[in-house]
C-alpha cells in the first residue's frame, strides 16, 4: 500500500491544492486562480454568468420592447416559455457531450454557437423573430451542466457540494445582474442620444460580446481534468473513450436522476420563471419606473451570491455528520419552505411586504438548488454528465410548465399565478422521500441490510467484460473517495470507516 502510493506520487504532477487519488482537489480556495482546479472554477462560473445575462437580458427591457415590436401578453408569455424550453434538451445533450468530449469543448462550443442569437436580438422585428431569438439564446443555459460536470471532475466529495453550489450560484447571479445591467446600459445609450426603440437594440451587443469573450477564455485557459484535456488523455491512453449508448443508458435508467429532475424543476424552474415575470409584475402592479422594477427584480436573482453556494456548503456540512441522508433531508426541508414563501408572495398586497417576501422566497429556492447539486454527483459515476443533464433539463421543464400553466396570456392574474406556483412547489418536492441509496439509505430508511458498499453501487454500472478491460478504475477510485457519505457511523468516525473497507 505504501510503496504503491509513493510510486503514484513520484509520477503525479504537483498541484497547488491538496488532491485525492483521482487528483481532484480536496479543498476549495475561493480566491485562488491556480490551475487547474480553481482556474476551472472561475472560468466556468464566469462563462455561465454571461450566458444567464444573455438569456434574461430581454425581461427588464420588455416595457420598451413590447411597444416596439407590438407584442401582446400572449406573445410575451410565449417568448418567456421559449427562452427556457431550448435548454431542456440542450442540457441533456450537454451532459452527454461532457461525458464524451469534455466540459471545456462542450461548453465553449455551445456558447459560441448561441452568441449569434444574442446578436440577432438587436434586429428582431416581430413577435415571431423575438420568440426565435429568445428560444435560441436560451440554449446557452445548458452551460450549467458543463459547469457542474467540470466542478465534479475537479473537486473531491467533501467539497464538491460547495464547488457546485458556488459555481452554479454565481452563474445564476447573471439572471439577477442582467435586471440591473440592461436598464443601466439602455439608459446610458438613450443619454448619448439614441431613440428608445434603437437604444434597446444596441444594448444587446453588451451581453453578446461578453458571452463570446468568456468562451475564448474557456478555450485558451481551461482544462477538462486535473491531469489534462480529454483529447490528449484519450490519445495517450490515460483515459478510455466511453460509448455514448452505454453512458446514456446508465444515466436514464437510474430512477434517482428522474426524481431529481422533477424536484429541480421546482426550485430552479421556479427561479427561472421569476426571472422572466417579476420585473414586469412589479412595473405593472405597483406602477414603478423601469429602473426601479429592475432593481427589485435583480434583488431576487442577486441572492444567488450567497444562497446557492450556501446550499452547497450546507449540503457538505450536513453530510459530515449525517451523510447522504442528511443531504436529502436538508433538501426537502428547504425546498418546502421555499414553496410556503411563494404562496405568501402572491398574497401580500403592499410593495414593501412584496419585496421582503420576494427576497426570503428567493433565498430558500436558490439554497434548494445548491442542495440538489450536493446530491447529484453521487447518483452515478459513469454517467455523471447524463444525470447532471437530466436534472438540469428538468429544471427547465419546470420553468416551461409553470409559465405555460400559470403565466401565459391573461387567464390568471400574476398574483394568483405566483400563489399556485407555490402550491405546486410543495407537491413536487415530496418525491425526494423516494430516493434511496442502498449503501447510505434514504430519508426514512437506513442503508441496506445486506452489506452494500459504495463499490457495489458504482461498479454495477460496468459489466464483467468492461471490468476485465479495466474500464471501471475511475469508478473504483470514486467509490473509495465517497466513503464519508455514510456520515458519522456509530462508534466509528469516517476516517476509521474508510480504513475498514475492503
Amino acid at each position: 500500500m505504501d510503496v504503491e502510493s509513493a510510486a503514484v506520487e513520484s509520477q503525479a504532477p504537483k498541484f497547488a491544492l491538496p488532491v485525492d487519488s483521482e487528483h481532484k482537489a480536496t479543498e476549495f480556495r475561493l480566491f485562488s486562480v491556480a490551475a487547474p482546479h480553481m482556474r476551472a472554477f472561475h472560468l466556468s462560473w464566469i462563462s455561465f454568468f454571461c450566458c444567464f445575462v444573455s438569456s434574461f437580458a430581454a425581461p427588464p427591457l420588455l416595457p420598451i420592447i413590447r411597444d416596439n415590436l407590438n407584442l401582446t401578453a400572449t406573445d410575451i408569455g410565449n417568448a418567456g416559455i421559449a427562452s427556457v424550453t431550448g435548454a431542456v434538451f440542450a442540457r441533456l445533450a450537454m451532459g452527454t457531450a461532457c461525458d464524451l468530449f469534455g466540459p471545456r469543448l462542450a461548453s465553449a462550443s455551445l456558447i459560441l454557437l448561441t452568441a449569434p442569437a444574442v446578436y440577432f436580438t438587436s434586429i428582431a422585428s416581430s413577435s415571431i423573430s423575438f420568440l426565435l431569438v429568445r428560444f435560441f439564446t436560451g440554449f446557452s443555459l445548458a452551460t450549467f451542466v458543463s459547469t457542474q460536470f467540470w466542478m465534479s471532475s475537479m473537486f473531491s466529495a467533501p467539497v464538491v457540494g460547495t464547488a457546485n453550489g458556488v459555481s452554479g450560484g454565481w452563474g445564476n447571479l447573471g439572471g439577477g445582474a442582467t435586471q440591473l445591467i440592461m436598464p443601466l446600459v439602455f439608459a446610458l445609450i438613450v443619454n448619448i442620444g439614441a431613440v428608445e426603440f434603437t437604444a434597446w437594440r444596441i444594448a444587446f451587443f453588451i451581453p453578446a460580446l461578453f458571452q463570446m469573450l468568456s468562451a475564448f477564455a474557456v478555450l485558451t485557459l481551461g482544462q477538462d481534468l486535473p491531469d489534462g484535456n480529454f483529447k490528449n488523455l484519450q490519445k495517450s491512453g490515460d483515459k478510455e473513450k466511453d460509448k455514448f449508448s452505454k453512458v446514456f443508458y446508465h444515466g436514464i435508467t437510474n430512477y434517482r436522476g428522474w426524481i431529481l429532475a422533477l424536484t429541480y424543476g421546482y426550485c430552479f424552474g421556479v427561479e427561472l420563471t421569476i426571472d422572466n415575470i417579476i420585473a414586469e409584475y412589479f412595473y405593472d402592479r405597483f406602477n414603478l419606473k423601469l429602473h426601479t422594477a429592475g432593481i427589485i427584480a435583480a434583488s431576487s436573482g442577486l441572492a444567488n451570491l450567497f444562497a446557492r453556494p450556501g446550499g452547497g456548503i450546507i449540503s457538505d456540512a450536513v453530510a459530515k455528520r449525517f451523510g447522504m441522508r442528511g443531504r436529502l433531508w436538508a433538501l426537502w426541508v428547504v425546498q418546502t419552505l421555499g414553496g410556503l414563501f411563494c404562496i405568501l408572495l402572491g398574497r401580500v398586497d403592499s410593495l414593501s411586504a412584496s419585496i421582503v417576501v420576494l427576497i426570503v422566497f428567493s433565498v430558500f429556492v436558490q439554497t434548494a438548488c445548491g442542495l440538489t447539486f450536493g446530491v447529484v454527483p453521487f447518483v452515478s459515476r459513469r454517467s455523471l454528465g447524463v444525470i447532471s443533464g437530466m436534472t438540469g433539463g428538468g429544471g427547465n421543464v419546470g420553468a416551461v410548465l409553470t409559465q405555460l400553466i400559470f403565466f401565459k396570456g391573461s387567464k390568471y392574474s400574476k398574483e394568483t399565478g405566483i400563489t399556485l406556483m407555490g402550491i405546486m412547489i410543495i407537491c413536487c418536492t415530496l418525491p425526494i422521500m423516494l430516493i434511496y441509496f442502498p449503501q447510505w439509505g434514504g430519508m426514512f430508511c437506513g442503508p441496506s441490510q445486506n452489506i452494500s458498499s459504495e463499490e457495489d453501487y458504482y461498479l454495477s454500472e460496468w459489466n464483467s467484460q468492461e471490468r476485465e478491460k479495466g474500464l471501471h478504475q475511475g469508478s473504483l477510485k470514486f467509490a473509495e473517495n465517497c466513503r464519508a457519505e455514510r456520515g458519522k457511523v456509530k462508534g466509528l468516525n469516517s476516517d476509521e470507516a474508510q480504513s475498514t473497507n475492503i
Binding site: N68, Y119, V195, M212, F216, N232
Partner: protein, 204 residues
Amino acid sequence: MVSRLFVALLLLCLAAESCYGGVLFSSLPRTLEITASPQQGKVLRAGEDRITVSWGFNQSVQASDESYKRVKVSLCYAPVSQVDRGWRKTVDNLSKDKTCQFTIVERAYDASVRNHIYEWMIEKDVPEATYFVRVYAYNSAGEEVAFGQTTDVKKKSGLFEIRGISGRHLSLEIASICFSAFSVASLFGFFLIEKRKAKGFSKN
C-alpha cells in the same frame, strides 16, 4: 408603544392612499370639444407626420369652466390596441387608468380663447397602434374635472393608426451579422488548432 406607532403609521399611509384615490372617469362631464387632424382610418408615421389638435370649451353645455386651471391633451389607445395588453388597460379610477400614455400638449387653461390650436410632431417613441385624442381639464388641486375626446362613447369612430419606427438601422444589421459570423468561425478555428495540437501530442 413601538407597535402602536407602527400601526398608526400604517393606517395613515392607507388613509393617504385613499385620499389620492383618484377621480372616476365616469363622473367627468364631457364639456370640452376637441378635433384632431387625422380622419378615421388614416395611417400616420411616428417621427415624420404631424397631428393638429384644436380644442375649446363647449358653450352649448350647461356648465361653467371657472374651475378649469390646466388642460392636457393626450394620445390614447383605442380598444383594439388594448386587447391582451394589460399595461394599456382602461380603468375607471383615473389614477390607475393607463389608456392615455402620451402627452401631446399641457398648458394653463385660458378661458378667453374660444379655440386652441396645436400642431404636434408624433414622437419617435410612440408605438404602432390605433389611437384617438382626449383632453382633460384640471382644477387647482390637480384633479380631473372635465374631458373631451375625438371619438364616441364606445370608442369606435374617429380612430387613426400610427405606424411606429422600427428602431433598426443598417449599421446594426451589418454589425450583428459580422459578429455572429466571427463567433462561429472562431469556434471552428479553435477546433483546427486543437486537432493539430493533439496530433503533435500523439506523435511524441
